[in-house]
């Protein structure tokens, strides 16, 4: 191969992938999206009860950052006690498909990654 011809949009492509990955690269974000996708509307308390192992602080932070990114909508009803509900926005819903693509890739291929790692470590004296 002669002088490499980098695809002109390589950098742009990388930026776009990195930006989308940054939106969903957090485990709790994916879990919240998954719940909201199935239940459509959930109260804060319901999310908290459903997602075992999540602390209040982490749930609140996750929801805020998802709201900021436009992935969920937060509605506050002025009743007593105040009712706060979350739904996925159109934007949030549209991210489900690329997330599923990542899940499916992992399901189909992750064992191969593990096998490759083991083979590499065996061949290279198990250094990480």
């Amino acid at each position: 191969m002669s002088r490499t011809t980098p695809e002109p949009n390589t950098n742009h492509r990388i930026d776009r992938a990195i930006e989308s990955l940054a939106l969903i690269g957090d485990r709790w974000t994916i879990i919240v999206m998954h719940y909201l996708r199935h239940e459509t509307v959930l109260r804060y308390g319901e999310l908290e009860a459903a997602i075992t192992g999540i602390s209040r602080g982490v749930l609140t932070r996750t929801l805020r950052s998802m709201e900021r990114d436009g992935l969920v909508e937060r509605k506050v009803y002025p009743v007593l006690p105040p009712r706060v509900e979350y739904t996925l926005t159109e934007l949030g819903l549209s991210l489900i498909e690329p997330i599923i693509a990542l899940c499916e890739w992992s399901e189909a291929n992750y064992d191969l990654v593990k096998a490759a790692r083991n083979a590499y470590d065996d061949a290279n004296g198990a250094k990480t």
Binding site: M1, R3, T4, T5, P6, E7, T10, R13, I14, R16, A17, I18, E19, S20, L21, A22, L23, I24, G25, R27, I30, I31, H34, Y35, H38, E39, L42, E46, A50, T52, L63, R64, E67, R68, D69, G70, V84, L91, S94, L95, E97, P98, I99, A101, L102, C103, E104, W105, S106, E107, A108, N109, Y110, L112, V113, A115, A116, R117, A119, Y120
Partner: protein, 129 residues
């Protein structure tokens, strides 16, 4: 709402699967090398070094090793003078093209909406949860 424990475990499993793939590709240098090899198929070490702006030899070597260890690229050494080292994308690496393309296309279509949402949110006065 009635989410069974089994459904919850399933959700967590799915999330972990997605995260595993994300971890493979969310490093900027790894993604850069992968993208270049997806386009070019084969590249020499020196070509990668010359093509990727701002990467140090140490980081490039480490990135290549990581990708090789994950089975996404293959390293071939040709015993000639000077020594020729080439990297090719494996079938496994090639299979990442689809999910990567899905992410890029999503961003093409929706990136502006994300930026607008962030600007809108940041412009709002802060309120408590």
């Amino acid at each position: 709402m009635s989410r069974s424990k089994a459904a919850l475990t399933q959700t967590y499993k799915r999330a972990d699967r997605a995260i595993k793939t994300i971890n493979l590709i969310s490093d900027r240098w790894a993604l850069t090398v992968l993208t270049l090899l997806l386009y070019n198929g084969v590249m020499r070490y020196s070509e990668l070094e010359a093509t990727i702006d701002g990467i140090s030899p140490g980081v490039l070597t480490r990135t290549l090793r990581t990708l090789e260890r994950r089975g996404l690229i293959e390293r071939k050494v040709y015993v000639e003078i000077p020594l020729r080292v080439e990297y090719t994308i494996t079938d496994l690496g090639l299979s990442l093209d689809d999910p990567l393309t899905a992410l890029c296309e999503w961003y093409d279509e929706h990136g502006d909406s994300v930026e607008a949402a962030v600007a809108h949110y940041d412009a709002k006065p802060t309120e408590d949860h």
